[in-house]
Protein backbone atom coordinates (compact mmCIF):
# COMPACT_ATOMS: atom_id res chain seq x y z
CA UNK A 1 0.00 0.00 0.00
CA UNK A 2 1.24 3.43 -0.97
CA UNK A 3 2.00 5.85 1.83
CA UNK A 4 0.15 9.15 1.37
CA UNK A 5 0.12 12.56 3.01
CA UNK A 6 -2.29 15.45 2.86
CA UNK A 7 -1.73 19.18 2.55
CA UNK A 8 -4.21 20.76 4.92
CA UNK A 9 -5.86 23.77 3.26
CA UNK A 10 -8.35 26.33 4.51
CA UNK A 11 -11.05 24.67 2.40
CA UNK A 12 -10.46 21.18 3.84
CA UNK A 13 -10.43 22.60 7.38
CA UNK A 14 -13.74 24.47 6.88
CA UNK A 15 -15.41 21.46 5.24
CA UNK A 16 -14.20 19.22 8.07
CA UNK A 17 -15.81 21.53 10.66
CA UNK A 18 -19.12 21.78 8.74
CA UNK A 19 -19.16 18.04 8.16
CA UNK A 20 -18.81 17.41 11.90
CA UNK A 21 -21.22 20.16 12.93
CA UNK A 22 -24.02 18.45 11.00
CA UNK A 23 -23.68 15.44 13.29
CA UNK A 24 -24.61 17.64 16.24
CA UNK A 25 -28.17 17.99 14.86
CA UNK A 26 -29.43 14.63 16.28
CA UNK A 27 -27.79 15.43 19.64
CA UNK A 28 -29.55 18.82 19.75
CA UNK A 29 -32.89 17.18 18.89
CA UNK A 30 -32.33 14.50 21.54
CA UNK A 31 -31.49 17.08 24.23
CA UNK A 32 -34.46 19.26 23.30
CA UNK A 33 -36.80 16.25 23.48
CA UNK A 34 -35.41 15.29 26.89
CA UNK A 35 -35.78 18.83 28.21
CA UNK A 36 -39.18 19.53 26.62
CA UNK A 37 -41.88 19.23 29.30
CA UNK A 38 -39.47 17.25 31.49
CA UNK A 39 -39.15 14.39 28.99
CA UNK A 40 -36.23 12.94 30.94
CA UNK A 41 -38.50 12.51 34.00
CA UNK A 42 -40.86 10.48 31.86
CA UNK A 43 -37.99 8.16 30.90
CA UNK A 44 -36.94 7.81 34.56
CA UNK A 45 -40.51 7.01 35.56
CA UNK A 46 -40.65 4.36 32.83
CA UNK A 47 -37.53 2.75 34.30
CA UNK A 48 -39.08 2.90 37.77
CA UNK A 49 -42.10 1.04 36.44
CA UNK A 50 -40.13 -1.65 34.63
CA UNK A 51 -36.66 -1.78 33.10
CA UNK A 52 -38.16 -3.32 29.95
CA UNK A 53 -40.47 -0.34 29.47
CA UNK A 54 -37.56 2.03 30.18
CA UNK A 55 -35.38 0.47 27.50
CA UNK A 56 -38.23 0.47 25.01
CA UNK A 57 -38.83 4.17 25.73
CA UNK A 58 -35.13 4.93 25.15
CA UNK A 59 -35.21 2.92 21.94
CA UNK A 60 -38.30 4.85 20.80
CA UNK A 61 -36.62 8.13 21.68
CA UNK A 62 -33.51 7.26 19.66
CA UNK A 63 -35.66 6.11 16.78
CA UNK A 64 -37.67 9.34 16.86
CA UNK A 65 -34.46 11.44 17.03
CA UNK A 66 -32.97 9.51 14.14
CA UNK A 67 -36.07 9.81 11.97
CA UNK A 68 -36.48 13.55 12.69
CA UNK A 69 -32.86 14.45 12.02
CA UNK A 70 -32.35 12.00 9.14
CA UNK A 71 -33.51 14.32 6.31
CA UNK A 72 -31.36 17.25 7.50
CA UNK A 73 -28.29 15.12 8.26
CA UNK A 74 -28.54 12.99 5.12
CA UNK A 75 -29.05 15.88 2.70
CA UNK A 76 -26.42 18.15 4.32
CA UNK A 77 -23.87 15.35 4.58
CA UNK A 78 -24.49 14.34 0.98
CA UNK A 79 -23.17 17.80 0.15
CA UNK A 80 -20.52 18.51 2.81
CA UNK A 81 -19.11 15.02 3.19
CA UNK A 82 -18.79 14.52 -0.56
CA UNK A 83 -17.19 17.95 -0.95
CA UNK A 84 -14.82 17.21 1.92
CA UNK A 85 -13.87 13.82 0.55
CA UNK A 86 -13.11 15.34 -2.84
CA UNK A 87 -11.16 18.21 -1.29
CA UNK A 88 -9.09 15.75 0.76
CA UNK A 89 -8.53 13.59 -2.31
CA UNK A 90 -7.31 16.64 -4.24
CA UNK A 91 -4.81 17.57 -1.53
CA UNK A 92 -3.52 14.04 -0.93
CA UNK A 93 -0.31 12.93 -2.61
CA UNK A 94 1.88 9.84 -2.70
CA UNK A 95 4.93 10.05 -0.47
CA UNK A 96 8.15 9.31 -2.32
CA UNK A 97 10.95 10.50 -0.01
CA UNK A 98 9.06 11.18 3.25
CA UNK A 99 10.34 14.42 4.74
CA UNK A 100 8.57 16.98 6.90
CA UNK A 101 10.49 20.10 5.90
CA UNK A 102 11.83 21.40 2.60
CA UNK A 103 13.96 24.54 2.76
CA UNK A 104 14.98 25.22 -0.84
CA UNK A 105 13.33 27.50 -3.39
CA UNK A 106 11.29 25.88 -6.16
CA UNK A 107 13.25 27.36 -9.05
CA UNK A 108 11.36 27.70 -12.31
CA UNK A 109 7.92 26.87 -10.90
CA UNK A 110 5.11 29.39 -11.37
CA UNK A 111 2.58 30.29 -8.61
CA UNK A 112 -0.23 28.76 -10.70
CA UNK A 113 1.68 25.46 -10.83
CA UNK A 114 2.26 25.49 -7.07
CA UNK A 115 -1.38 26.29 -6.40
CA UNK A 116 -2.65 23.61 -8.77
CA UNK A 117 -0.32 21.00 -7.31
CA UNK A 118 -1.46 21.86 -3.78
CA UNK A 119 -5.20 21.29 -4.25
CA UNK A 120 -5.68 20.79 -8.02
CA UNK A 121 -7.39 24.17 -8.24
CA UNK A 122 -6.66 27.87 -8.68
CA UNK A 123 -8.15 30.21 -6.09
CA UNK A 124 -8.55 33.68 -7.56
CA UNK A 125 -7.74 36.12 -4.74
CA UNK A 126 -4.87 34.09 -3.35
CA UNK A 127 -3.29 33.11 -6.63
CA UNK A 128 -3.64 36.50 -8.31
CA UNK A 129 -2.05 38.08 -5.22
CA UNK A 130 0.85 35.61 -5.37
CA UNK A 131 1.24 36.16 -9.12
CA UNK A 132 1.40 39.94 -8.62
CA UNK A 133 4.07 39.40 -5.96
CA UNK A 134 5.99 37.25 -8.42
CA UNK A 135 5.74 39.98 -11.09
CA UNK A 136 7.01 42.49 -8.50
CA UNK A 137 9.96 40.25 -7.70
CA UNK A 138 10.76 39.94 -11.40
CA UNK A 139 10.56 43.70 -11.93
CA UNK A 140 7.52 43.40 -14.23
CA UNK A 141 5.17 45.44 -12.04
CA UNK A 142 5.46 47.86 -9.14
CA UNK A 143 2.90 47.87 -6.34
CA UNK A 144 4.48 50.36 -4.00
CA UNK A 145 2.15 53.24 -4.93
CA UNK A 146 -1.18 51.65 -3.99
CA UNK A 147 -1.74 50.42 -7.55
CA UNK A 148 -0.24 47.96 -9.99
CA UNK A 149 2.04 49.85 -12.36
CA UNK A 150 3.31 47.76 -15.27
CA UNK A 151 7.05 48.38 -15.78
CA UNK A 152 7.86 45.74 -18.39
CA UNK A 153 5.31 43.73 -20.31
CA UNK A 154 7.88 42.25 -22.68
CA UNK A 155 9.58 39.84 -20.34
CA UNK A 156 10.70 36.90 -22.52
CA UNK A 157 9.39 34.19 -20.17
CA UNK A 158 5.81 35.43 -19.90
CA UNK A 159 3.12 32.89 -20.73
CA UNK A 160 -0.12 33.88 -22.55
CA UNK A 161 -2.02 33.91 -19.22
CA UNK A 162 0.62 36.28 -17.74
CA UNK A 163 0.45 38.61 -20.73
CA UNK A 164 -3.34 38.60 -20.48
CA UNK A 165 -3.27 39.53 -16.79
CA UNK A 166 -0.53 42.15 -17.19
CA UNK A 167 -2.40 43.77 -20.11
CA UNK A 168 -5.51 44.05 -17.96
CA UNK A 169 -3.47 45.89 -15.31
CA UNK A 170 -1.85 48.09 -17.96
CA UNK A 171 -5.16 49.04 -19.58
CA UNK A 172 -6.97 49.24 -16.26
CA UNK A 173 -9.52 46.68 -17.44
CA UNK A 174 -9.04 44.11 -14.69
CA UNK A 175 -12.35 42.83 -13.32
CA UNK A 176 -14.03 39.63 -12.16
CA UNK A 177 -14.56 38.31 -15.68
CA UNK A 178 -10.88 38.93 -16.53
CA UNK A 179 -9.88 37.12 -13.35
CA UNK A 180 -12.00 34.08 -14.28
CA UNK A 181 -10.59 34.08 -17.80
CA UNK A 182 -7.07 34.28 -16.39
CA UNK A 183 -7.82 31.32 -14.13
CA UNK A 184 -9.01 29.20 -17.03
CA UNK A 185 -5.94 30.11 -19.11
CA UNK A 186 -3.52 29.45 -16.24
CA UNK A 187 -5.25 26.14 -15.48
CA UNK A 188 -4.95 24.98 -19.08
CA UNK A 189 -1.26 25.89 -19.13
CA UNK A 190 -0.62 23.84 -15.98
CA UNK A 191 -2.63 20.83 -17.21
CA UNK A 192 -0.71 20.85 -20.47
CA UNK A 193 2.56 21.01 -18.52
CA UNK A 194 4.68 18.25 -17.01
CA UNK A 195 3.20 18.09 -13.51
CA UNK A 196 -0.50 17.37 -14.01
CA UNK A 197 -2.66 15.49 -16.45
CA UNK A 198 -6.37 14.88 -16.97
CA UNK A 199 -7.66 11.99 -14.91
CA UNK A 200 -9.07 9.05 -16.83
CA UNK A 201 -12.41 7.64 -15.68
CA UNK A 202 -11.86 4.14 -14.33
CA UNK A 203 -14.35 1.28 -14.82
CA UNK A 204 -14.52 0.77 -11.05
CA UNK A 205 -15.56 4.36 -10.32
CA UNK A 206 -18.20 4.43 -13.07
CA UNK A 207 -19.66 1.06 -12.02
CA UNK A 208 -19.64 2.14 -8.35
CA UNK A 209 -21.57 5.33 -9.20
CA UNK A 210 -24.10 3.39 -11.30
CA UNK A 211 -24.69 0.81 -8.55
CA UNK A 212 -25.13 3.56 -5.91
CA UNK A 213 -27.60 5.42 -8.16
CA UNK A 214 -29.60 2.28 -8.89
CA UNK A 215 -29.76 1.23 -5.24
CA UNK A 216 -30.82 4.75 -4.24
CA UNK A 217 -33.65 4.73 -6.77
CA UNK A 218 -34.64 1.15 -5.92
CA UNK A 219 -34.73 1.80 -2.17
CA UNK A 220 -38.40 2.97 -2.04
CA UNK A 221 -39.45 -0.07 -4.11
CA UNK A 222 -37.51 -2.44 -1.83
CA UNK A 223 -39.12 -0.87 1.28
CA UNK A 224 -42.63 -1.15 -0.19
CA UNK A 225 -41.98 -4.76 -1.19
CA UNK A 226 -40.82 -5.72 2.31
CA UNK A 227 -43.84 -3.93 3.82
CA UNK A 228 -46.18 -5.82 1.51
CA UNK A 229 -44.62 -9.21 2.35
CA UNK A 230 -44.71 -8.37 6.06
CA UNK A 231 -48.37 -7.26 5.97
CA UNK A 232 -49.38 -10.39 4.00
CA UNK A 233 -48.24 -12.84 6.69
CA UNK A 234 -51.09 -14.60 8.63
CA UNK A 235 -49.61 -13.70 12.03
CA UNK A 236 -49.80 -10.00 11.12
CA UNK A 237 -53.60 -10.14 11.10
CA UNK A 238 -53.77 -11.42 14.68
CA UNK A 239 -51.20 -8.80 15.70
CA UNK A 240 -53.27 -6.12 13.98
CA UNK A 241 -56.37 -7.27 15.88
CA UNK A 242 -54.40 -7.02 19.12
CA UNK A 243 -53.49 -3.41 18.27
CA UNK A 244 -57.13 -2.59 17.58
CA UNK A 245 -58.12 -4.09 20.93
CA UNK A 246 -55.97 -1.65 22.94
CA UNK A 247 -58.35 0.84 24.59
CA UNK A 248 -57.90 4.52 23.67
CA UNK A 249 -57.34 5.69 27.25
CA UNK A 250 -54.41 3.26 27.83
CA UNK A 251 -51.19 4.95 29.07
CA UNK A 252 -48.02 4.70 26.97
CA UNK A 253 -46.37 2.46 29.54
CA UNK A 254 -49.33 0.06 29.53
CA UNK A 255 -49.46 0.07 25.73
CA UNK A 256 -45.76 -0.82 25.57
CA UNK A 257 -46.37 -3.63 28.05
CA UNK A 258 -49.11 -5.03 25.85
CA UNK A 259 -47.13 -4.62 22.60
CA UNK A 260 -44.04 -6.33 23.95
CA UNK A 261 -45.64 -9.03 26.08
CA UNK A 262 -44.59 -11.96 23.86
CA UNK A 263 -41.45 -12.48 21.71
CA UNK A 264 -43.50 -12.59 18.49
CA UNK A 265 -45.41 -9.39 19.30
CA UNK A 266 -42.11 -7.69 20.27
CA UNK A 267 -40.70 -8.62 16.88
CA UNK A 268 -43.77 -7.34 15.07
CA UNK A 269 -43.75 -4.09 17.04
CA UNK A 270 -40.11 -3.45 16.15
CA UNK A 271 -40.72 -4.35 12.52
CA UNK A 272 -43.71 -2.03 12.38
CA UNK A 273 -41.70 0.84 13.83
CA UNK A 274 -38.80 0.33 11.44
CA UNK A 275 -41.13 0.13 8.46
CA UNK A 276 -42.93 3.23 9.71
CA UNK A 277 -39.61 5.09 9.57
CA UNK A 278 -38.43 3.46 6.34
CA UNK A 279 -41.40 4.67 4.32
CA UNK A 280 -40.69 8.44 4.77
CA UNK A 281 -36.95 7.66 4.57
CA UNK A 282 -37.48 5.96 1.23
CA UNK A 283 -38.62 9.33 -0.13
CA UNK A 284 -35.49 11.06 1.19
CA UNK A 285 -32.96 8.46 0.01
CA UNK A 286 -33.41 9.08 -3.75
CA UNK A 287 -33.10 12.83 -3.14
CA UNK A 288 -29.90 12.24 -1.13
CA UNK A 289 -28.47 9.99 -3.84
CA UNK A 290 -29.31 12.57 -6.54
CA UNK A 291 -27.61 15.35 -4.53
CA UNK A 292 -24.61 13.09 -3.84
CA UNK A 293 -24.17 12.28 -7.54
CA UNK A 294 -24.46 15.97 -8.55
CA UNK A 295 -21.98 17.16 -5.89
CA UNK A 296 -19.60 14.29 -6.66
CA UNK A 297 -19.69 15.13 -10.36
CA UNK A 298 -19.16 18.87 -9.91
CA UNK A 299 -16.54 18.77 -7.16
CA UNK A 300 -14.83 15.60 -8.30
CA UNK A 301 -11.08 15.37 -8.84
CA UNK A 302 -10.45 15.79 -12.57
CA UNK A 303 -6.68 15.85 -12.63
CA UNK A 304 -3.87 13.70 -11.33
CA UNK A 305 -0.23 14.38 -10.58
CA UNK A 306 2.45 12.94 -12.81
CA UNK A 307 5.55 11.45 -11.15
CA UNK A 308 7.30 14.83 -11.44
CA UNK A 309 4.17 16.43 -10.02
CA UNK A 310 4.24 14.08 -7.04
CA UNK A 311 7.88 14.93 -6.34
CA UNK A 312 7.08 18.65 -6.47
CA UNK A 313 3.93 18.30 -4.35
CA UNK A 314 5.97 16.65 -1.61
CA UNK A 315 8.40 19.59 -1.74
CA UNK A 316 5.47 22.02 -1.55
CA UNK A 317 4.19 20.13 1.51
CA UNK A 318 7.66 20.44 3.07
CA UNK A 319 7.84 24.17 2.31
CA UNK A 320 4.43 24.78 3.87
CA UNK A 321 5.50 22.99 7.05
CA UNK A 322 8.82 24.83 7.06
CA UNK A 323 7.17 28.25 6.68
CA UNK A 324 4.61 27.37 9.34
CA UNK A 325 7.09 26.10 11.94
CA UNK A 326 10.23 28.12 11.21
CA UNK A 327 9.02 31.58 10.29
CA UNK A 328 6.76 34.40 11.22
CA UNK A 329 5.77 34.97 7.59
CA UNK A 330 2.09 35.04 8.53
CA UNK A 331 2.70 38.53 9.90
CA UNK A 332 4.88 39.84 7.06
CA UNK A 333 3.57 42.56 4.73
CA UNK A 334 4.28 42.83 1.01
CA UNK A 335 7.06 45.37 1.56
CA UNK A 336 9.17 42.54 3.01
CA UNK A 337 9.23 40.76 -0.34
CA UNK A 338 12.81 41.83 -1.00
CA UNK A 339 13.92 40.22 2.28
CA UNK A 340 11.91 37.02 2.11
CA UNK A 341 12.20 36.53 -1.62
CA UNK A 342 10.19 33.59 -3.01
CA UNK A 343 9.26 32.38 0.48
CA UNK A 344 6.80 35.25 0.93
CA UNK A 345 5.11 34.18 -2.32
CA UNK A 346 4.96 30.59 -1.06
CA UNK A 347 3.47 31.83 2.21
CA UNK A 348 0.65 33.53 0.28
CA UNK A 349 0.11 30.55 -2.03
CA UNK A 350 0.09 28.04 0.81
CA UNK A 351 -2.31 30.08 2.95
CA UNK A 352 0.26 30.87 5.60
CA UNK A 353 -0.22 34.63 5.05
CA UNK A 354 -3.64 36.15 4.45
CA UNK A 355 -2.88 39.79 5.20
CA UNK A 356 -0.97 40.22 1.92
CA UNK A 357 -3.96 38.92 -0.07
CA UNK A 358 -6.10 41.62 1.57
CA UNK A 359 -3.39 44.20 0.88
CA UNK A 360 -3.17 43.30 -2.80
CA UNK A 361 -6.84 42.88 -3.59
CA UNK A 362 -7.41 46.38 -2.27
CA UNK A 363 -4.93 47.89 -4.75
CA UNK A 364 -6.44 50.52 -7.03
CA UNK A 365 -6.73 48.42 -10.19
CA UNK A 366 -6.97 44.98 -8.57
CA UNK A 367 -10.25 45.39 -6.81
CA UNK A 368 -11.37 41.83 -6.31
CA UNK A 369 -13.57 42.58 -3.30
CA UNK A 370 -15.98 44.39 -5.60
CA UNK A 371 -16.53 41.13 -7.45
CA UNK A 372 -16.66 39.05 -4.26
CA UNK A 373 -14.02 36.66 -5.52
Amino acid sequence: MKHTKQIETKKTKILKIIDRLVLIVPVIILISVLLHENGYKYILESFAESSKIGFVMIFLLILATFSTSFPIVAITRAITHTMRKNAVKATTFNVLTDFEYYREKLTGISPAEISMLTDLNIELSKDISATILKYTLMGIVDTSQNQVIVLNDNHPGLKPSDRFLINSFKNNTFNGAVAFQWRNMAKKEVINGRFLRNKKLTVGTTTGNCISCSLGCLFPIIVLLITYIFASTPTFESYSNMLDAIPENTSNAEAINILFNTPSSSLFSFMLMIIGISIPASLIVPIVVAIWVIVKTFTGVRYERTYEGQVLTEEIYGIKNFIHDFSDLSNADKNRLILWDDFLIYAVLLEENESIINEIIKLKNVNLIKFKI
Partner: protein, 192 residues
Protein backbone atom coordinates in the same frame (compact mmCIF):
# COMPACT_ATOMS: atom_id res chain seq x y z
CA UNK B 1 -22.21 14.24 48.94
CA UNK B 2 -20.07 15.65 51.72
CA UNK B 3 -18.50 19.10 51.10
CA UNK B 4 -14.98 17.80 51.89
CA UNK B 5 -15.19 15.38 48.96
CA UNK B 6 -16.29 18.20 46.67
CA UNK B 7 -13.29 20.29 47.80
CA UNK B 8 -10.90 17.34 47.32
CA UNK B 9 -12.40 16.77 43.87
CA UNK B 10 -11.95 20.41 42.88
CA UNK B 11 -8.35 20.44 44.15
CA UNK B 12 -7.59 17.20 42.27
CA UNK B 13 -9.07 18.70 39.10
CA UNK B 14 -6.99 21.87 39.47
CA UNK B 15 -3.83 19.78 40.02
CA UNK B 16 -4.59 17.66 36.93
CA UNK B 17 -5.14 20.81 34.82
CA UNK B 18 -1.93 22.38 36.19
CA UNK B 19 0.17 19.26 35.54
CA UNK B 20 -1.30 18.98 32.03
CA UNK B 21 -0.48 22.61 31.32
CA UNK B 22 3.02 22.18 32.77
CA UNK B 23 3.72 19.16 30.56
CA UNK B 24 2.35 20.80 27.40
CA UNK B 25 4.26 24.05 28.09
CA UNK B 26 7.49 22.20 28.75
CA UNK B 27 7.02 20.13 25.56
CA UNK B 28 6.34 23.32 23.59
CA UNK B 29 9.63 24.80 24.86
CA UNK B 30 11.49 21.64 23.82
CA UNK B 31 9.97 21.72 20.31
CA UNK B 32 10.72 25.42 19.86
CA UNK B 33 14.26 25.07 21.19
CA UNK B 34 14.91 22.14 18.86
CA UNK B 35 13.67 24.24 15.94
CA UNK B 36 16.07 27.04 16.89
CA UNK B 37 18.97 24.57 17.01
CA UNK B 38 17.88 22.93 13.77
CA UNK B 39 17.73 26.27 11.95
CA UNK B 40 21.10 27.25 13.47
CA UNK B 41 22.60 24.16 11.87
CA UNK B 42 21.14 25.32 8.54
CA UNK B 43 22.87 28.70 8.98
CA UNK B 44 26.09 26.84 9.81
CA UNK B 45 25.81 24.74 6.63
CA UNK B 46 25.55 27.92 4.52
CA UNK B 47 28.42 29.54 6.44
CA UNK B 48 30.55 26.43 5.88
CA UNK B 49 29.79 26.67 2.17
CA UNK B 50 31.05 30.25 2.25
CA UNK B 51 34.19 29.28 4.16
CA UNK B 52 34.90 26.67 1.44
CA UNK B 53 34.39 29.17 -1.37
CA UNK B 54 36.71 31.86 0.02
CA UNK B 55 40.09 30.04 -0.53
CA UNK B 56 39.19 29.35 -4.18
CA UNK B 57 38.28 32.97 -4.68
CA UNK B 58 41.51 34.18 -3.07
CA UNK B 59 43.56 31.67 -5.07
CA UNK B 60 42.11 33.03 -8.31
CA UNK B 61 42.86 36.62 -7.27
CA UNK B 62 46.44 35.72 -6.23
CA UNK B 63 47.19 34.76 -9.81
CA UNK B 64 46.79 38.39 -10.88
CA UNK B 65 49.95 40.38 -10.36
CA UNK B 66 49.74 43.30 -8.04
CA UNK B 67 46.52 42.33 -6.26
CA UNK B 68 46.55 43.99 -2.87
CA UNK B 69 48.16 41.55 -0.45
CA UNK B 70 46.68 43.25 2.59
CA UNK B 71 43.13 42.69 1.28
CA UNK B 72 43.83 38.99 0.69
CA UNK B 73 45.34 38.67 4.13
CA UNK B 74 42.39 40.45 5.72
CA UNK B 75 39.95 38.01 4.11
CA UNK B 76 42.09 35.00 5.11
CA UNK B 77 42.30 36.27 8.68
CA UNK B 78 38.59 36.99 8.87
CA UNK B 79 37.81 33.50 7.55
CA UNK B 80 40.14 31.86 10.08
CA UNK B 81 38.55 33.87 12.91
CA UNK B 82 35.08 32.86 11.78
CA UNK B 83 36.01 29.16 11.62
CA UNK B 84 37.70 29.24 15.03
CA UNK B 85 35.01 31.24 16.81
CA UNK B 86 34.10 29.59 20.13
CA UNK B 87 31.05 31.42 21.45
CA UNK B 88 27.92 32.47 19.60
CA UNK B 89 28.81 36.13 20.01
CA UNK B 90 32.33 35.55 18.64
CA UNK B 91 30.83 33.71 15.70
CA UNK B 92 28.43 36.56 14.93
CA UNK B 93 31.21 39.19 15.08
CA UNK B 94 33.68 37.07 13.09
CA UNK B 95 31.17 36.35 10.34
CA UNK B 96 30.19 39.98 10.13
CA UNK B 97 33.90 40.83 9.77
CA UNK B 98 34.28 38.19 7.04
CA UNK B 99 31.31 39.68 5.17
CA UNK B 100 32.87 43.14 5.39
CA UNK B 101 36.28 41.84 4.26
CA UNK B 102 34.68 40.00 1.31
CA UNK B 103 32.74 43.13 0.30
CA UNK B 104 36.01 45.12 0.26
CA UNK B 105 37.72 42.33 -1.68
CA UNK B 106 34.95 42.29 -4.35
CA UNK B 107 35.03 46.11 -4.55
CA UNK B 108 38.80 46.13 -5.06
CA UNK B 109 38.61 43.36 -7.69
CA UNK B 110 36.57 45.80 -9.80
CA UNK B 111 39.81 47.69 -10.48
CA UNK B 112 41.43 44.60 -12.03
CA UNK B 113 39.80 44.16 -15.48
CA UNK B 114 41.57 40.84 -16.20
CA UNK B 115 40.44 39.36 -12.91
CA UNK B 116 36.94 40.76 -13.36
CA UNK B 117 36.57 39.09 -16.76
CA UNK B 118 38.03 35.74 -15.65
CA UNK B 119 35.36 33.02 -16.11
CA UNK B 120 36.51 31.18 -13.01
CA UNK B 121 36.33 34.34 -10.90
CA UNK B 122 32.87 35.24 -12.26
CA UNK B 123 31.57 31.74 -11.49
CA UNK B 124 33.00 31.85 -7.96
CA UNK B 125 31.62 35.33 -7.39
CA UNK B 126 28.16 34.23 -8.50
CA UNK B 127 28.33 31.21 -6.24
CA UNK B 128 29.41 33.42 -3.36
CA UNK B 129 26.56 35.80 -4.06
CA UNK B 130 24.05 32.91 -4.10
CA UNK B 131 25.53 31.60 -0.83
CA UNK B 132 25.29 35.07 0.75
CA UNK B 133 21.62 35.19 -0.21
CA UNK B 134 21.06 31.75 1.29
CA UNK B 135 22.84 32.83 4.48
CA UNK B 136 20.63 35.90 4.67
CA UNK B 137 17.47 33.82 4.24
CA UNK B 138 18.60 31.13 6.71
CA UNK B 139 19.39 33.85 9.20
CA UNK B 140 15.92 35.38 8.80
CA UNK B 141 14.33 31.99 9.42
CA UNK B 142 16.69 31.48 12.37
CA UNK B 143 15.71 34.85 13.84
CA UNK B 144 12.03 34.02 13.40
CA UNK B 145 12.41 30.71 15.23
CA UNK B 146 14.27 32.58 17.98
CA UNK B 147 11.45 35.10 18.17
CA UNK B 148 8.86 32.33 18.55
CA UNK B 149 10.98 30.61 21.23
CA UNK B 150 11.76 33.87 23.08
CA UNK B 151 8.08 34.87 23.02
CA UNK B 152 7.10 31.46 24.39
CA UNK B 153 9.52 31.63 27.32
CA UNK B 154 8.94 35.29 28.13
CA UNK B 155 5.16 35.55 28.05
CA UNK B 156 3.23 35.22 31.30
CA UNK B 157 2.49 32.68 32.80
CA UNK B 158 4.78 30.38 30.76
CA UNK B 159 7.78 32.50 31.81
CA UNK B 160 7.45 31.08 35.34
CA UNK B 161 7.93 27.51 34.06
CA UNK B 162 10.73 28.69 31.73
CA UNK B 163 12.67 30.26 34.59
CA UNK B 164 12.15 27.22 36.84
CA UNK B 165 13.29 24.82 34.12
CA UNK B 166 16.20 27.06 33.14
CA UNK B 167 15.18 28.03 29.60
CA UNK B 168 17.12 31.12 28.54
CA UNK B 169 16.47 33.45 25.65
CA UNK B 170 18.56 33.29 22.49
CA UNK B 171 20.29 36.27 20.88
CA UNK B 172 19.27 37.26 17.36
CA UNK B 173 21.78 37.13 14.51
CA UNK B 174 22.26 40.68 13.24
CA UNK B 175 23.22 41.45 9.63
CA UNK B 176 25.97 43.95 8.91
CA UNK B 177 25.06 47.16 7.09
CA UNK B 178 26.91 46.01 3.96
CA UNK B 179 25.07 42.72 4.03
CA UNK B 180 21.67 44.28 4.50
CA UNK B 181 22.31 46.50 1.52
CA UNK B 182 23.67 43.71 -0.64
CA UNK B 183 20.69 41.37 -0.30
CA UNK B 184 19.68 40.63 -3.82
CA UNK B 185 17.27 38.15 -5.17
CA UNK B 186 17.58 35.73 -7.99
CA UNK B 187 15.30 37.02 -10.69
CA UNK B 188 15.34 33.68 -12.48
CA UNK B 189 13.94 31.75 -9.52
CA UNK B 190 10.44 32.13 -10.93
CA UNK B 191 11.25 31.47 -14.56
CA UNK B 192 8.07 31.29 -16.55
Amino acid sequence: MEPKYIIIGIIALIIIILVGWLISTRNKFVVLKNRVQDQKSQVDIQLKRRYDLVPNLLETAKGYAGFEKSTLEAVTRARANAINAKTAQEEITANNNLTNALSRFIAISESYPDLKSSKNFIALQEELSATENKIALSRQFYNDTIMKYNNAIQLFPANIIASILGYKKYEYLQATTEEAESIRFNSDSFKM
